[in-house]
Amino acid sequence: MSLHPSAAASTAGASIDSAGATRGIAWREWLGQPGVVSLLTIAVLLLVWQTVTSLRLIEPLFLPPPAAVWAKFLSVSTTGFVDASLWQHTAASLTRVAIALLLAVLFAVPLGLWIGLSPTARGVFDPLIEFYRPVPPLAYLPLIVIWFGIGELSKVLLILLAIFAPVVIATATGVRNTDATRLRAAQSFGATRWQLLRFVVLPSALPEILTGLRVGLGVGWSTLVAAELVAATRGLGFMVQSAAQFLNTDIVLLGIFVIAIIAFGLELGLRALQRRFVPWQGKA
């Protein structure tokens, strides 16, 4: 080991300072940031889209130019499409997902806690959840419609089922991963079973629960179009579906963009929530 760190540092500094290299490194650093690369990718894609449509390489019926989609965005925002504005469609979809999410928190989290704590509950519910989880929502949608009709209940239920499994599984995993010495510590202070659950197990599982909600919300949001296929009069999925029937490709594209942007926003929101409520994640 060198006893003269200052000497070593100055040599290293000299090599970086050598003229043009500095500018090269700064440029590469700027380009190396993930955000910059992502923005560039989007810009390139938009440019390709614009070029392909201006050169009429693809019929506007199949791929309308960006400007047309933007114009549709403005008109659907104000005058609306199929008796409802873009915001009303969006609000209808978000309300369904929000109700499903709320129900998932109310039922899936306690069930996950139970499964994580009790081997019996695990034995009972694990096969049930693993049975329906890999089935695509569209496959059991007809059954839900037969049982629960074509109203709001069926739509919310379909989204709820999609959110349910990841939340239950994540919660149960979180519970089982509770640090054994932390439980022992609480026991040595005389904690009751209920206190162990409330003060040690639940906070320990919180990071996993939030991850489960994040995954579940992603799956639930992507089930939306399927849920709104049946007898909906509002919703982003319904909007895309009915626009497709009239070959309104610009509205289809618009709908897809709005669905994607909202999904991205939800993901960012839940990540922020995770940072806010479990700042210790990965640190302790």
Binding site: R184, S188, G190, A284
Partner: protein, 265 residues
């Protein structure tokens, strides 16, 4: 006081264990410790010193014999025995003062009283001003201080420490030894420390217990006074350099070494 009588601990046959290692960890061990003692449990690794501590903590049920604190036979963990763990076992979702007041929350103590108690013990372990810090911002030594303050806040009769300074660097370790003696003197608690450090054990203990290899029995039970002398004001380094201290340390080291050689013969 702690009274261990004819204690045996054996792992159940179904628990996995390496071939050739006896399932009997402790075999007919008896130990009596007066109140206010500072006991250091020393022995070759895997000898069962942690098992002995876990029996006293109530985490492990003995297969025969009893362990008792102040005449009450131990069955399961209880608030009369506080435990400090090697990997601190703090709750990262609570800040420093939240962790120290945690045992009082479990007991339903009022917020104002909780805070006053927690602040008192944080000051004792030298963490005044760190009340609102997050656990993950603290160094290993500071975390152990929080762990000690938390165990003390529960006001146990006995403080049990399982290799509390094992993961700390040498300098921090020496500081923590001095801190432990300060806490011991200030609170008058009976303390049991499991340790690998021969010098640490010799320095701290009023009762130094050397255990044999598995199944554990007591090889030596030495009554020492170096920790008491430090608590009375003698500097730690001066004590550790005394010919008398070095002689005891070497004697203890030799007896642990012998046990370890039997193990590996």
């Amino acid at each position: 006081m702690i009274e261990v009588k004819n204690l045996s601990v054996a792992y159940a046959a179904r628990e996995k264990r390496s071939a050739g290692v006896s399932p009997v960890v402790i075999d007919g061990l008896s130990l009596s410790v007066p109140p206010g003692a500072l006991v250091a449990l020393l022995g070759p690794s895997g000898c069962g010193k942690s098992s002995l501590l876990n029996v006293i903590a109530g985490f492990v049920e003995p297969s025969a014999g009893t362990a008792a604190v102040s005449g009450r036979v131990i069955h399961g963990p209880g608030a009369d025995r506080g435990v400090v763990f090697q990997d601190d076992a703090l709750l990262p979702w609570l800040d420093v003062i939240g962790n120290v007041s945690f045992p009082l929350v479990l007991r339903g103590v009022q917020a104002a009283e909780r805070e006053a108690t927690a602040r008192r013990f944080l000051e004792l372990v030298g963490l005044k001003g760190f009340e609102r810090r997050s656990i993950w911002e603290l160094s290993g030594g500071m975390r152990q201080r929080v762990g000690i303050a938390r165990a003390l806040a529960a006001d146990p009769e006995v403080l049990l420490m399982d290799e509390p300074f094992g993961a700390l660097d040498a300098l921090t370790r020496e500081r923590m030894q001095e801190l432990l003696l300060k806490v011991w003197r200030a609170t008058g608690k009976t303390i049991v420390v499991v340790t690998h450090g021969v010098e640490e054990a010799t320095f701290l203990a009023t009762d130094l217990v050397v255990l044999s290899r598995r199944p554990a029995r007591i090889v030596h039970h030495l009554k020492l006074h170096f920790g008491t002398r430090h608590a009375d004001g003698e500097p730690a380094r001066a004590i550790k350099s005394l010919p008398e201290f070095v002689a005891v340390r070497e004697q203890v080291l030799a007896s642990v070494f012998t046990q370890d050689e039997v193990e590996h013969a």
